[in-house]
Structures are given as structure tokens and as C-alpha cells.
Subunit: 664 residues, 2 copies
Amino acid sequence: MPPLKGRKSRTRDGVEAGPALAIECVEPSLDDARHPVKRIVGDSFHVTADIFRDGHDLVAARIRFRSPSDREWRYAPLAYEYDSDRWDGGFPLDEIGSWVYTVEAWTDVFATWRSGLQKKIDAGQDVSLELLEGAEIVDAAANRARFGDIRNALKQAVATLREADLDQRDRVTVALAPQLIPLVESYHLPADLTAYDRELEIAVDRERARFAAWYELFPRSQGDVPGRHGTFATAERELERIARLGFDVVYLPPVHPIGETNRKGRNNSLEASASDPGSPWAIGGKEGGHTAVDPRLGTLADFDHFVTRAHELGMEIALDYALQCSPDHPWLKEHPDWFFIRADGSIRYAENPPKKYQDIYPLDFWCADRAGLWNACKDIFLFWISHGVRTFRVDNPHTKPFAFWRWVIEEVKQRHPQVIFLSEAFTRPKRMKHLAKIGFTQSYTYFIWRTEARELAEYLTELTQSPVREYLRGNLFANTPDILHEFLQHGGRAGFRIRALLAATLSPLYGIYSGFELLEGIPLRSGSEEYIDSEKYELKHRDWGRPDSIAADFELLNRIRRENRALQLHDNLTFHPSDNDRVLFYRKSAPNGQNDLLIAVNLDPHSVRETTVHVPIADLDIHAEESYGVEDLLTGARYLWRGSRNYVRLDPREQVGHILRLIR
Amino acid sequence: MPPLKGRKSRTRDGVEAGPALAIECVEPSLDDARHPVKRIVGDSFHVTADIFRDGHDLVAARIRFRSPSDREWRYAPLAYEYDSDRWDGGFPLDEIGSWVYTVEAWTDVFATWRSGLQKKIDAGQDVSLELLEGAEIVDAAANRARFGDIRNALKQAVATLREADLDQRDRVTVALAPQLIPLVESYHLPADLTAYDRELEIAVDRERARFAAWYELFPRSQGDVPGRHGTFATAERELERIARLGFDVVYLPPVHPIGETNRKGRNNSLEASASDPGSPWAIGGKEGGHTAVDPRLGTLADFDHFVTRAHELGMEIALDYALQCSPDHPWLKEHPDWFFIRADGSIRYAENPPKKYQDIYPLDFWCADRAGLWNACKDIFLFWISHGVRTFRVDNPHTKPFAFWRWVIEEVKQRHPQVIFLSEAFTRPKRMKHLAKIGFTQSYTYFIWRTEARELAEYLTELTQSPVREYLRGNLFANTPDILHEFLQHGGRAGFRIRALLAATLSPLYGIYSGFELLEGIPLRSGSEEYIDSEKYELKHRDWGRPDSIAADFELLNRIRRENRALQLHDNLTFHPSDNDRVLFYRKSAPNGQNDLLIAVNLDPHSVRETTVHVPIADLDIHAEESYGVEDLLTGARYLWRGSRNYVRLDPREQVGHILRLIR
């Protein structure tokens, strides 16, 4: 159907009319169209709406939508669910970028007329007036038809409908001919075309925005020999190891020059020795700021080579985007007005009174030269994008203005819609969610701190089944350089395996910080979540071949993730009862029964746990007494299960969980 | 606090910034501020909102609102719920009409500064720079102060804060002095004042919009002797009877001249005899249309007298507003263009193919002279308002455009905000709700068709506890001239008493059509909800003193309603378990424990029913083993109850239910 141009409201003599039809509750919609919902290219987009009008006339409706590259609106039909005033329809999302859609409706005058005509004919009533009135509808369409043959066909129908000498039955046959319907509908101009009062956005990302395994790596620790600063060149070798483990994204903490003034020493001490490398988050030195690389890591050309090698291995590099400056950052001299100037003319360092962070200077995002600063921050993204980076992990975005993120993400995505932004906002829930609403592609979550079955089920249900699923894609990191959870400190090898299994199966997005596979779990002190001898302040040298390594777990988990569609989707997670509250039981399923996984995890790293799990057999089309096979993708073992309740026993020294694929 | 004028967004050099703070989820809000929520004058209005910003600075927020007579905005504070990013506050609604409100927030620079200062002092740090920075905040406020003494006080504080020679402790004392806070806050100009992106409306009605007992009466049936057409004068006597029964609103079917052409006879027959009075809904005759009275009822002066008499008795008259015309309505000659003109030039009568309604002509609300027609329809309201009518029961509003209702109700309420509109839309739920959203004060409901305990509990919970409570006030009619439910046809005297008790206690708004108290329950034929010998087509003459009348039930119920605040409120209904599913058990409570009613109704008119009801003792502050008294307001009997589970026995021949007031 071509675009319709109708009157939304008819104003005359001061008697203003609102929309003729009611269109309500168009979904999906995030905060009433204030923010885009998120989807992945290739998804089909499903729309529902409440649409109705007064009286008994029939209504027609459609979706109006536009892809990023469309210059004109496109349309998709909406179908009526009987007696519900609810309509639904959809269209495929075949392009990355920002889509727009809304809903339109109008009175279907021709269908209403045909329906009345049919009823009167069925009741044996004379319909000569009806035929003349129908002729007017068809004639109006004929007059709008641009092509001769359609116009002629319509005009001929009009003539027949008006031909009083003809047998009424013959005229009725023409009136109700199915082939007349699309011709009239194509050229009918509705007098009451009504559009929904909002246009809604869809942010369509590439597949990696929803499905990816992340691996965080300090390239400076990947030196040839212990104690020697690693380089992009030496770190390239680690890429092969990481690729073998099946990771998709290698995330690097900041690779920029590190400030020397007030540099932090080992274990965050205020005094650094000459050999201390400093924290990568103290960005900026005499060699440059956010668009330079630390010369100890190599050159920009080395970086480019590193990025290219990752691509060759099927992975991509994610960079850290941390908007703060060391005292030696060039911006302090070039743009002191981008910082907070104190009453004595000095530049304000970071504080959280009474704590002082004298190695870090925050930017004043609302300074007089806001445009200059914001554009410079945008240019950092564009610079690294020009060096092959497509993913950024954004440091502490909740300490910079929402308005800045909304602006900069839109600016970048307009040019590079494939870019992915991961929000590292460990803050209160509404602020975390707001950052996701205003543009961040993925978000760190509270997953690390959810260790009990009830906590995990509640939190993951919120992320994947509540309205949050429309905009917040949780990336479940099992550890970070800042967060070594107590569970890992005390859980031993089984503890690490449990958290790996949970992270990799509860969400299509998960990540670890390197060292996790080597069970690094000693805190700075009891009660702390900081690592002892943290890699943030010193070089590490690891023996990747250690016999207790759980690297094989990741190799297997990442392979299972690639082979099972259910583990690549976000909103397909449901929890089901387990009689032992230390065994978590959940289901991940791909649409149409193509891939059903039942996953049981022993949350207790210290003890064998037995339980009866309650399989949602009704949802799986399994009868109460029916037997069915399940295969443990972790071991290859097969079990014959029956009905809803089935027995599970997990000894954490051997196996912390099952990923059971339902055999159909 | 005086109005603030801040910058919502700061645009410069094409780098546009959105709002600095996030304000989300402002409530109450109906369909995201598209429609007003409804309240009653005297209510206090409670507002909540999610408000937050980036970083650690403190936030301040307030409600901005305007009553119908306010020429400037007023403000009310919002208070922060710790760590939730949720704020709440409120203001009293002391005027009938359309109110507007929204929410504003900004960074509380002065409080943030004081908080940091205090922390540094507590840590023994030097604060000389902080004092100078605080002086700048205070000085900016001083420069905006209009009054000399406040300005002077602020300037003096500035001087002290800047006085380097003074002991730092003395300067800190001035900086943190509580009396300084309101002075600075009053004149501080926030740089980031952010308003919520919607203004929200509140439709504030008079008390009768929420709490009223309606009585529907055909005045023409109130003749002196059987068979003689009643008049306003003879009907005045009935007003005294109705007032004694405690009703608040007397609703009259149309009182206009009735068409003679194609007039319907008794029992809706197509042929009327000369003596048949016709249906009052076939509006318009040679004596006039919607602004005339049927001369058989008397004159306009008689009508005025009738209205005045009702007011004297503490009641008001509601008129029927039915926008359709008999073939004899003056508009058919004066404004044929306001109707649908057929292909042969005739005016289209009402049809629902294959049914024909040749005594009724629908209006074409989208005709070329739409302004003329809509204004004429508006003038009908204004005419009767000028004759003392303040309440209209609107006939079949779902068959006229939503746009018309939105316009005409707003037009009328702008002039006469006290007017009440009752929507008689027995249609699908979303259309019924939409009419309430766009302006109708009250709505007919599906109550008549809800007879089982589960149905009643579900439906009334939706009306009173879901978001529907914000805009749809259900008026629970127990019968109407069009609807005689099967339950009444077969339930006998107890059946009528059950429905009366339910209607009068489940909702502060309820009504009956006269004859209900005389147990009129014979249908036109089996399976029909039409009355035999319906009053719509003939005069009735009733013996109000019949011994089986349940008029005393209404006298008692209406007195109990007036004496118990809990029965005057709308959103205070909860259902509680009863072990016998034929006994419905519910609670109506006024705030602060001032009035708690526990109501049990036997829904079975034919059998004695016993049950154990589960009293929500925790909500009533009663301990598990505690004894408490309840008084049956219907009988005066008192019972001693204990704990949650208590015994109820109801013999429908004697008593169909209890209204138990909790004795505190």
C-alpha cells in the first residue's frame, strides 16, 4: 500500500477535534518512547497495539517504519485479534542502526460497506441504495489511481454498480468480488487516518552486542620474561591462547601513557618506586593523553598489528574509555578550563571527602568550553575507531553527566552504528538502568554479588523477563581487577568453576579478568574485594599451563555456547524449582523447540548436593509420565528422565553442574 | 521558595545537551500524562518520582503545580527516600477543576558544599579553600536577594567566610549555621534546573462524583391515577419518597418531546396505538427537540420547580443526554446536513444490518458542518445547566466519536467544572475505559453480569486496586430499564436484597432503576434481559407500599453509607478468603483506622450458607489470639470475634449479609 495522506485532526471554526481513532499502548516501548528498545540485526520485530473507534465500523491498521537507510516510510500490516481491540504485526530488522516505527489506523470504509451489504443480501433486503453508495467509494479510489489499467478496472466496477437496469445479483457479484478489494484499498484515501502520538525508536546492534565472551587482559603483563614490561608484540602470542579458549572480545585496560606525578605504587601505596609501572587508569603523561599509547607497550603501529591479529583469530579488541586525567595529562596544560579551578587557581583533584585522589583529575563537563571538551571526548572514540576498535568498555560512566553520554553515543553511532559501549556503572539500580536507556549497549551487573539461588533467580529474572530486558543487556563478569568476591576467596577451585558455569550459561554475555582461570583468589586483606598485589599497580607473570588451571572449562563452555542457540539469546531464561536450595535449576530455550537446555548448578563449592529438580514439562510438550533423554553437554553422559521430577547429584570436586540438552 | 528560572538545556556550538538530571516515573500519571487522573476536592494529592544525577552531588527537588484559579505556579517540597532515588511529596486539592503539576530537580550546590566541608572538618583537614568556595555560593545568592535585610545577612556571611585572619573555626561556624540554609536556598539560582518532560493533569471533581446513590425514575409513570400520564408536578411527590430512602441523585430518562413517526408500541412493537406514549429515547417532535420538554410532562417552569424541589430535599436531578433524533426532530428539517444523506437524498435511519431502527436517526458527527453540529450538542448541555442540572447520564457514548466527547466535556467543564458526566457505554473494556480517560466522570460497569464470588472479586479489584482506579469511577447499577439480569429473574426477594447490598457496599457509587425495590423481575421472554411490558414503551403505575417491598433495605443501606466514611471511598476495597465460595467476604476501610468494615454476603438467594471468613487481622493491627468486637450495622447485633478465622451463617430468608463494623 502506498503512503496515505489523511487528516489527523480537522480544525474549523474553533471546534478542534482530536484523533478520530484511539491508538493506545503501542509496544514495545521504553518509558513511553523516550528511549529506544534494543534489538539485534536479524531479529524479527513484533508490534502490538490497542486500536479502536466508536460505533460499529470496521478498522484497518498498519505499522509505519523506517530503517536507518530508508528515505521513505515503509509499512507492515497489523492484524486484529478477535474482540480484543488488540492488533499485532511485525517486520524484519535487516540493518544495524537506529530504526523508527509507529502505528496508524483508519476506518475501513470499503470493508464496512461490504459487510453491511452482505448482511442485507443474506436477509433478502433490497440493496439498490447500498450499491450506489458503494459505487461512490470505488469511484473515489478510481480517481486517485495513477495507473491506467487499475483506474479502468475500478471505473468499470463503478459503472456496473450504478447500472440500474442490470440484475441486482450481477451488480452484487461485482461489488463483493475479492479482486476488487486490493484495488480499492490501494487508492482509498481515509478521511480519518490517525497516527499514534509517538514515534518509537529501535536501536539495532550487531550480534556481538548480545552474544559474546569477554576476556580482560593487561598487555603489559604479557612480557617475555618475569619482570619485563610486556608489549603489544609480546601480548599477541596470548591472543592465540585466548582464541583457543573460545573468547570473542579481548578487553584491555587503558593503554595510554601513565602519569608519573603522584603515581600509585604496589598495592595502591601513595609512594611509587622508580620501577612501579603505575595504574593504567591514571591516564596521560609527557608522551600524550587519551589518543597516545604507552611507549612501553609499543607504537600505534604495534597496536594496529595487535588489533589485526585479534581479527584474524576471530576476536576483537575492546578498549577502556576512562575520562579522567593524571596530573601529567597534556589537557591540564592545554585546557585547564576543562577542569575544576579552585579558589586559589589550582586544578581540583578527585576527592570523596575526606578521601583524596591526587593522582586523578576529574573533568568539568559543564565548563564554559563544554563544546570543546565534549568534542575532544568524542574524538577519542573516533580516533580508536579509526584504529580498528569497535567496542569500548566505559569506566565509571555514572560519574559523568547523563547528557554527555546521550550526546556522545549518538554522535558516534551515527557515524559507526556497529560500535558497542559497555557501561561499567556499579551504582544504584536506577542510575545503572538509566545509562542503559540513554544508549549503552551492554552493562556490568550485580551478578558478582549474587551467590545464593534465590538471589540469582530473582536478579536474572529481572534482567531477562521484566521490562529491563528491552534495554539492559547484562554482561556477567565473574571477576574484575577491582572485584574479587568472597565466594572466590573461599570457594577453592570448585568455586571458580561454579561462577564460570553460571556466568557462561545465565547470559549470552559474560566475561572474566585473566587470572580467573588460574584461581587467583587472595584478597588484599580479610573482608576486602581488592586483590593482593593487584595487577592494577604492578606487572604479573602467569604460568598458563598450571595443572590446576580451569582453562579447559572455558574452552568447553565457549564451544557449547557457540553450538547452542539457546545460550546466545537474552530473554529466554526461566528458573524452576529445585528441592535443595543450594542447587540452582534453570532452562534456556531457543524458539520453536530447536534447542532446549536444562541447567543445574551446585552453588555449594564444598559439599556434594543432591536434589530433585522440577522440569517444566508442560512448556516442553512432555507428558506427565513420559520418558525423555537428556545429554550433559559438559560430559557427554546421557540420562533417561521421566515426567517432571528428576534426581540430580553434583559432587563439586568432580562436576559443579549439568548442561542438559533435551534430546527430541 | 520563589520560582526558579534555570537552564534546562545548554546549547552552544551545535553540541546540544539534554536535561542534566534524570526525572523518571512521575506518579500518578495516566497513560504517561495523556489524560488527567481523577480526584475529589479535599483530597490530598500524593506525588512520587525517581530523581537522580551523575556523581555524588546532592539533589533537591520539588513539585510545581497550579490550581484552576492560580495565575502563577505554586511549589511543594519533595523528600528523598534514602538510597532509593525515589522522592515523594504532596499538596492539598482545595478547588474543583483542572489542576496541572510536574516535578523539578536541581543540584543542591550549597548542601553538597556543606556536606564536604563537614567531612573534611571531621577528618581534621584544612578547609581554607573550601570556605572561599562557599563564599562564592553565598555571594551569588546575596546578589539575587531582593530584600535588604536578607541581602545584608548573606553579604555579612560572605565577608566572614572570606576573612582569612579570622579563626577557621569561627568561619566554619558561620558556614554551617542552620539559619544560613533557607536564605541561600531562597536565592540560589541552579545552573541545572531540570523539569520533568511532561505536565500532568488532575481532574478534581466535587464529592458527588465519587459518592452518590442514584435512583432512576420515569416521571411520566408518576401519574395521579393508573393510566394517566404523569407530570413533573405529580412526580414531585415521589421525590419525597426517594429522599426518605436516602438517594442522592434522581436520574430521569429523556424528558423531551417524543417522535410520532414510526413510534414504537408496547413491548417494542413496530406499530404503536394512539395511546402509546412512545420511547423517551426517540427524541424530538413537533414541540421541539433536545431543549424542549414533553408537554405531557408539563412546562419548562414545571421542570425548574421539580429541580428546585429535589435540591430542597438534598438531592439533585440527572438528565439523560442521548444524541439521536426521532423522525420528527426539528433538526431533520433545519439541519438535514447533520445527518447521513443516502444516495437517493433521504436521511439514513439507524441500522445494524440486517436490523433497522426506523424511529431513530443517528447524527453524522463528521459532517461538513461539524462545528455547527458539535456546538449545538454543546448547547444542549448548557441549556439544561441553566435550568439547574449538574449531572448528565450519557446514552451510548461509545457510538459517537471519542473526539467529540473529549471536546464537549472540556468545553462544558471549563465553564461549569462541577458538572458530572456518567458514561453508559456497555461495550468492550478498552472502549469503556477510554471514555473514562477522555473525560467521563463516572461509568456504568459490568457489575450486573458479575454474580459469582470470584467474578465479583476480580472485577471489583480491577476497578479499585489497579491503575483503572485513577480514572474510572464505576457506578454499580443493580438494574436498568434495559437490563434485568437472570439473577434477579430467578433469585426472588433475597436475590434483589443481595444485589442491593453488594451494589451499595462494593462501591461508593451505585444505583437502581425504580421498580427494583418492588422486586420487578419478569423478563420479556425466557433468556431475555428485557422487562416484560417495559416502562420504556408504556406508563407504569406502582404500589410503593407493597408489603414485600425492600425499600427499607435502601433506607438502611443509604444511612449506613452516610455514616461510614469507608463506604464513601473508592480505592479502599480488598477481598479476603471465605471457605464457602458462595459467601463473598470483603473489607472497606477508611484511612488511619477511623472506620473498618468487614462485609460478608451470601451470594446464594436460595440456601442457608455457612462459612469461615479470614479476617486480615495483620492489616487491622489485631493479634492472632486477640478478641475484638464487631457490630452488624444492618441489625445492631454485636459479636465477639477472635483472631483471623471466624464463623458466619447467613439465611437468605432473613438476612443476606453482614456489614460488620470493627469496634475499636
